[in-house]
């Protein structure tokens, strides 16, 4: 029931998704009175879909704490199905904060994971790049960042199919002394971990679009701002180019000549192709679709969820977490010392 054009957009997305994932079965959760007639008109989806009635829906402005109390919400009922083992994963286009809060409480985090993180895939000059955290954790300690790196590695391997993805830690400079104690402690821990050969050290903002590393790890505040700033810059250029192509008859002719190449570029940068922010570190697959997406975008979010289920994302995370358990204890201990000594403050170093 979440998203600007729900529930129709979700069902149309399902109609796309069922063709791509033969053999999969879907649980459609929400107001049965609304869902039933819509599903009737989408026979392909209807054939592999069961409706589960949920009397309530979480609004976009509902606070996570309030959302947690609504036991009959479509979001809660869907997440309950994952927690109960009925569903392998959940995809929602609803309220992000509510989804994260309910999923964390109901599905719970994987053993050894402090906090779940949100990750998404974006375009870069050298192929797709995974960015995390995108806002689940506004402030992070070194242990969180190390966990994000481990989860980002597994995500890039399972969903992007990379063998040994390179991993960068976002900072204001690439030199070892840049940034704060938290970042340096995280870097130190990663250099001692099993992903050390893949760890490329600190990267900067411009490295995201340059694709310097396959995975970029940062705290949720910075990641959220970076993601939205990058999207904003792309939108600005897109709008300006549209103006250029409409500015004269000559420009319109030129646009027609360029159309095939520009269409390819547009498709490659299409936000729908990158739709589906995943909540990593939970004991189940949880994918957040953009609320303003369309059927194609929602189907892409479904693809991401399917990839994570099929490639047993969480099993890989569990394996890798056991490999860094000792290190994490060290990072957590150092982090605690850091706090006791009043440290953890970012040093004032210029860019």
């Amino acid at each position: 029931m979440g998203g600007d054009l729900a529930p129709l957009m979700v069902i149309e997305g399902l109609e796309v998704s069922v063709v791509r994932h033969p053999g999969a079965r879907f649980l459609l959760v929400g107001d049965e009175a609304k869902l039933h007639p819509l599903l009737q008109r989408h026979p392909r989806a209807a054939a592999v879909c069961t409706i589960r009635h949920a009397p309530e829906a979480i609004g976009n402005d509902t606070k996570p704490t309030a959302a947690l109390r609504v036991r009959g919400s479509s979001m809660r009922v869907a997440i309950d199905a994952v927690a109960g083992g009925e569903a392998s994963g959940v995809v929602s286009a609803g309220n992000t904060g509510a989804l994260l809060a309910i999923a964390t409480i109901v599905i719970k985090t994987l053993p050894g994971i402090g906090r779940p993180a949100m990750a998404a895939i974006g375009p870069s000059a050298r192929g797709d790049v995974v960015l995390l955290d995108l806002g689940a954790n506004v402030q992070c300690d070194a242990r969180n960042l190390v966990e994000f790196a481990v989860m980002g590695d597994v995500f890039a391997r399972t969903v992007l199919g990379l063998t040994a993805p390179s991993i960068g830690l976002l900072n204001v400079g690439s030199e070892e002394l840049k940034g704060d104690d938290t970042l340096r402690l995280a870097a130190e821990t990663l250099r001692a971990s099993h992903i050390a050969p893949q760890f490329a050290g600190f990267v900067e903002g411009h490295d995201i679009a340059a694709g310097t590393t396959d995975v970029v790890v940062t705290d949720g505040f910075t990641g959220n701002v970076a993601l939205k700033t990058g999207e904003g810059a792309l939108k600005l250029i897109g709008d300006l180019l549209r103006q250029v192509f409409r500015s004269s008859l000559t420009a319109k002719v030129a646009y027609l000549l360029l159309r095939p190449s520009l269409e390819r570029l547009r498709e490659w940068l299409d936000p729908r192709r990158y739709n589906g922010a995943v909540m990593l570190g939970l004991n189940g697959v949880v994918v957040k679709s953009h609320g303003g997406t369309d059927a194609e975008g929602f189907a892409h979010a479904m693809d991401v969820a399917m990839d994570m289920v099929v490639h047993r994302f969480n099993d890989h995370i569990r394996e890798d977490l056991t490999r860094i358990a000792g290190l994490m204890a060290l990072a957590a201990k150092n982090g605690a010392l850091e706090k006791e000594s009043g440290g953890g403050a970012r040093l004032a170093t210029a860019p």
Copy 2:
């Protein structure tokens, strides 16, 4: 002596600058043996320029603390000239951290300013936008953020010529409850200040390129990442478009048809037009040019410094600081309480 193509690039920039600023006089600081012959070949610049010999130069990899000890560096001698009242401002294309450290120690901060900030102007859909801090302060308290807002306001008024620039505080969401205690305390303080009518509350990453507000205030870590992420996204699109325009003969023809409009767009987005990061809050005008810029870019950094001098930027800052002195004491006190209670941690709120 700083910058990839110094000192020639600086002298060529001066040759552009002297025409734009008739009546201005310039002190060219560096290795006289190198500067003298170069200046000879630039008679317009030579006519209004005095060379001051400085035997040393700060390298790009020199740490700020080490740079501070080199008393005969061109950077130090130039900054000494500002501190001594001989020069109204300094423009350098050298090591950013060294410039900030030396300027802070030698020129000192304005009374009432806790820490200087770095600001720059960038393009947006609704005209130029001022972003600060860009990395001078990797971690900031509420008082710093309020000071940045006041300085950003004066900067937008004096350099962009706006009457009442709108000001946004960068966050992961626009709702009042988003972000951490520091951000909420800064917002609260701004709502009680003389710039309250201009304060638009929280803005998000995409608001920078959208130009939602004229000034975007954030801590130096986030600002640095946002600036570089935005630049990276613009570069990615620029590179991809160049590929499109070179992909076939048809594309090349189309490019020729579009050339005038695309050139205008390129000029508008030209990084040289936005060159010149200013260090605000110091008792003198200090502008940092990009090290990799050319003469035109350096001349733009000179323009920014000139604007700040001519429009008496620091006098306006001084006036406005007295207007918020009481509020700042409050913010500082609340900030201290925040720290005592172990607060200041960013709350985990989803985007």
